[in-house]
Subunit: 765 residues, 2 copies
Amino acid sequence: MKPKLICSLCFLLSTALSFSADAPSLRGYSTDASHTERDWETKFRAIPDPANLRAYMERMSAHPHHVGSPYDKDNAEWILSKLKEFGLSASIENFDVLFPTPKERVVELVAPHRFTASLREPPVPDDPTSSQQSEQLPTYNAYSADGDVTGPLVYVNYGVPADYDELARLGVSVEGAIVIARYGGSWRGIKPKVAAEHGAIGCLIYSDPRDDGYSAGEVFPNGPMRPRDGVQRGSVMDMPVYPGDPLTPGVGATKDAKRLPISQAATLTKIPVLPISYADAQPLLAAIGGRNVPGAWRGALPITYRVGPGPAKVHLAVKSNWDLKTLYDVIARIPGSAYPDEWIIRGNHHDGWVNGAEDPLSGTAPLLEEARGLGTLLREGWKPKRTILLCFWDGEEPGLLGSTEWAEAHAAELATRAAVYINSDSNSRGELRVEGSHTLERFINSVAKDIQDPEAGISVWNRMRFFRIATANGIVPDAHDAAAGERENPRGEADLRIGALGSGSDYTVFLDHLGVASLDLGFGGEDRAGIYHSIYDDFYWYTHFSDTDFVYGRALAQTAGTAVMRLAGAELLPLDFDDFTATIGRYVREVEKLAHDQREKIIERNREIDEGLFAAINDPRFPLNAPPKQAVPPFLNFAPLENGLAALQRTAALYDQELAKAAANGGAALARTSLREVNARLVTIERALTLNEGLPDRPWFRHQIYAPGLYTGYGVKTLPAVRESIEQKEWRLADQEVAKVGKVLENTGEAIEGATAELHKAIGQ
Amino acid sequence: MKPKLICSLCFLLSTALSFSADAPSLRGYSTDASHTERDWETKFRAIPDPANLRAYMERMSAHPHHVGSPYDKDNAEWILSKLKEFGLSASIENFDVLFPTPKERVVELVAPHRFTASLREPPVPDDPTSSQQSEQLPTYNAYSADGDVTGPLVYVNYGVPADYDELARLGVSVEGAIVIARYGGSWRGIKPKVAAEHGAIGCLIYSDPRDDGYSAGEVFPNGPMRPRDGVQRGSVMDMPVYPGDPLTPGVGATKDAKRLPISQAATLTKIPVLPISYADAQPLLAAIGGRNVPGAWRGALPITYRVGPGPAKVHLAVKSNWDLKTLYDVIARIPGSAYPDEWIIRGNHHDGWVNGAEDPLSGTAPLLEEARGLGTLLREGWKPKRTILLCFWDGEEPGLLGSTEWAEAHAAELATRAAVYINSDSNSRGELRVEGSHTLERFINSVAKDIQDPEAGISVWNRMRFFRIATANGIVPDAHDAAAGERENPRGEADLRIGALGSGSDYTVFLDHLGVASLDLGFGGEDRAGIYHSIYDDFYWYTHFSDTDFVYGRALAQTAGTAVMRLAGAELLPLDFDDFTATIGRYVREVEKLAHDQREKIIERNREIDEGLFAAINDPRFPLNAPPKQAVPPFLNFAPLENGLAALQRTAALYDQELAKAAANGGAALARTSLREVNARLVTIERALTLNEGLPDRPWFRHQIYAPGLYTGYGVKTLPAVRESIEQKEWRLADQEVAKVGKVLENTGEAIEGATAELHKAIGQ
């Protein structure tokens, strides 16, 4: 669901702690077990076949398959039949969720002249499925409030909070206005939320050609970018509050679940919202008067962008059917031989906004091929120690519905059993991009070293590393720009760092709500796409402009499948607390710096205001309002975080010592059967990073290290309670949260200590 | 002539060395003389009248007044009559220079379909002078080679050397092609020069709407920005080699001067060049195929920008009349009472490309009003100590012709007499922007403190300071962007720093060829303009969109006039070597860092190539060539520069000590008449910064601290011989030049020492 700007990773060689011998043993494996595991993995990686991936995608994208459509159910049943055909035990699990679909959509310019937006994506002759107009969901934003409003139009750039600060300087209010924001800069649901907070009565979101249209490249069908009438559908529910069915927060939306009345669902928008194409947006934007936009707000339409309000006046009407629809999650289960109550969960959604070839089938097809591979191995005698669940989620697009409801429904079992969740979503060509829990950073580095890149003839790990050096040195090709910001040169580091998970796909409930260590995997960076959530994201597009020969689909199946096998087969769950602790240390430094910089900035700004700087630099022809003075922040007490970090550093080192003992002599200690208790302790370490009370004002989000930002939506906020309270200048809250999160880190240190003690006992036996 | 991205200044309060008392004495003045001077200056600043400025501009812009036009001569005669009316002694001095005007201009797309560029700027109904079509120079680039070529089209972004590096990575050659470059990123003459060096056979330069068209704001006549058919004329002579008449380098183009044959004029382009509008450019650019451009190369036309070469094929023909035309420099002279052989020279050109209201008359009118003011003071008994020359240059637009030929013709006198040159060119609204010799930095700070900003009600110095703080803190309004890069927060510094002079206006011959300490002054930053060098730069445009009430014209007259008076009236020429030495110190650090970074970068790049990074990150669908390996640079010997700098530091401190003594007791020592020799020594200190042999391969440029870059044109290269030899990786040359420039700094230290000794003698008398 999240557009492919996934990023992140970085590094540290696991040599120091790997289990000696010629070929280094896998972490968490005795030498013998490691050899066996490597043999099975090698067999597995030979299985995935691009021709199958192509066939799966063609079949599943043959018709629109959104939640509630006949083909969504049909796909689920077909997936089920395939899983069974592969020899796996599988079933469909249903949930009933609120999923509005539009009855009425109107966007009209009513002044200074009239123009009616088409709100239609026309078929493209060469592209067969684009003509399935009667089966397609119209262009809309799901969970928009119903409404019929008319008001002056204001252009708000990306519509994020900083843009409203800029509008305030320009003296422009959106009170009583309809805003038009361009896609990008945040999760789309942030735009109507922030607009409503500022008093707007309606919201339009359009795709500017600068971002994914003609300015970025040739448009479909001549190229991969968004054509003039292409529209990005998408959910606008307030997912940073809670994802999943708006009517059943925290519980599974089973048939008889207790449901909120719609009026009490906190995650619906407060104002009506519609997405439009740039063909529809141009007459609206061209009719806006007032001041010119700041330079950074300009798009690529051949007009002068202005802020308004008016004289452009717009009539916007949205009305939806507010029905419950049935979800079809398809779950296959491979029971574990040694630790059946430790689950390795692998998932990718199968629903799309329309034909959804890239999003999500480019990830669904590899998952299905992984299932075939594992089925094959099982028939050949492979026996994973842990239970493996392969999950084909429904309803991800509207709001991570299928994964969230399933995990909420099974929360009790998952709390003790879920060891790791591995997600994928869309897939393209390029480098492997990994985000996730930092206890898995070292592990996924080891996997990436064993996967061959289909284009470069080197391991995907090596290619990632080269991309990072290239990005750090400013020599990376154009399409990789998006990830450039956060890159550091990995030379001299053993593991490539992985980024933290925000939100935007099905890992959210596992990581953020249940505290299950999670990873999100996918290849990308070489192809630009402008068909996201439009009718043009289909088989024709994918096979002309993306991973056309499905070799990266195969690489994804190889990567995720290897990760699942290696996690499921390990004698000792291969978590690592070194990279994890180093990362927490960086986050602690970041929030300390944030508080410091925030303070310095407010002091400097107040000084500027007192000195009369804003009056002095004002242009009387284009005056700007001075920003308001702000109270100077107090110094915060970061000692609890520092103490928590110190506890992690101490306990992580002790765990490593114990692990080194266990790994000595070919890992004889590991080969014993007495590691059950150690493993059980390891599984729950990520749980120690959660608090039952959740984050301030959003109890559903329990993880204290990772969360999507309340005002970014996709973008992660690490140490979220601390970071966001500082960002929002709630100093008292910040001090409280520092103390709480410090305690969480200490608790996590104790959990690591507990696992270490069990490991010590096990070795001693 | 240079488009208004003038910038720069920074600071240091002259309190320490100013001559005590209640109101601090002016630097170089005894207390009494300072009071008298301040009284005269106050009288002077009351004189300039916006109504006069408006009337002057209206008169001089009433018809096109380019070199060789009847109205150019008419304006010169009118200026002369006004100067005489103001009571000044003045005359016209003529030179005969090569100034080609077009006979034939063709730009046609001949494949894949036909399109003929209009090459015409249509009249605008509301704008009366835009209809004077028969008097207007057609749109062209002066000093383009004649030629008739047809070839595939390649888009080269700004057409600077770095763009060709990018093309090489894309595998695109311009050999045998016609390039199309957008305006910006360098002086326009660089574009055909670099294109020809890479084998191109022709060059088009167009104005992209992103830079000064609709994307930047409403277009003329609804706004100030460039309309679809607007074209930027301009010279493309190779001015970084030498400016002025191409046929008489180094000597005045008097009637009987010895002239080169045209075939030997080194500053004409090697290939034909024409400028075009974005209306004419769009069909050409849209027809280019090949790879998409890198992201930073995109303009704001509603097309996908591609690199080519072809399938677009263009026919370009240019043929000119290669005639000599007569220049009319108008020079007024106010003889000095005490030091008649020390000249303070003030200049602004009067020729325009068409009606030239902003460029140059917004600067010419204030100069004329300064002349009126000084004439008025003379009648009231004011007696400047030094001789003042007020110069209205002709032929600046084609290549700084009038100032260069005049200064070359008078080089012998100027060598001993020219103390300071103060230039202005176009003027707009906003902050005072100053560039110049750093021996004048402290002085111009003192002047800026005495000028009232017409909008902000504070001194222009204070406003400059606030703009700099705002820019350093990222809160400056949009139009000021251009200067943002080089700003440091001036808090805690006494003087606002001034930027170094590159080229682009009439100071060039004074500073770079003759070594006369120079300043360039103008207000700007609040207004964007898209009429540069078009028929729309006229009285209608200026009085609707720029300094419409001419209050900044008045401020410029007040600033430049005060500077001239204060320099002309000082007992001791108020040069300063503190800020100067600190600046030289920064430049020395910069070139050392440049050499270091260059070395590190080459080592890292070679390592990347050896490791196979470029192959690893290559996208096989869009492959890029790896850059070539380069020889690792040797370490350079910077000791001579450091020794030179140390000499400056030592001698500057001694001069300050002596000056403090002279300034003690109301500056009694200064009031003596025996400072003639000290002043004469001070005048020549800037000369010590030159070498007769000039810069490598461009002997006309003699100054060793400042020069326009060989590949930037406008942009300055400080310590040019050293910096450019490092940039061009000519290590042996770099070592030689470091030694030479180090010696120049030592010589300058000796010159300061000489002035100090004379000052010591004078005080002792």
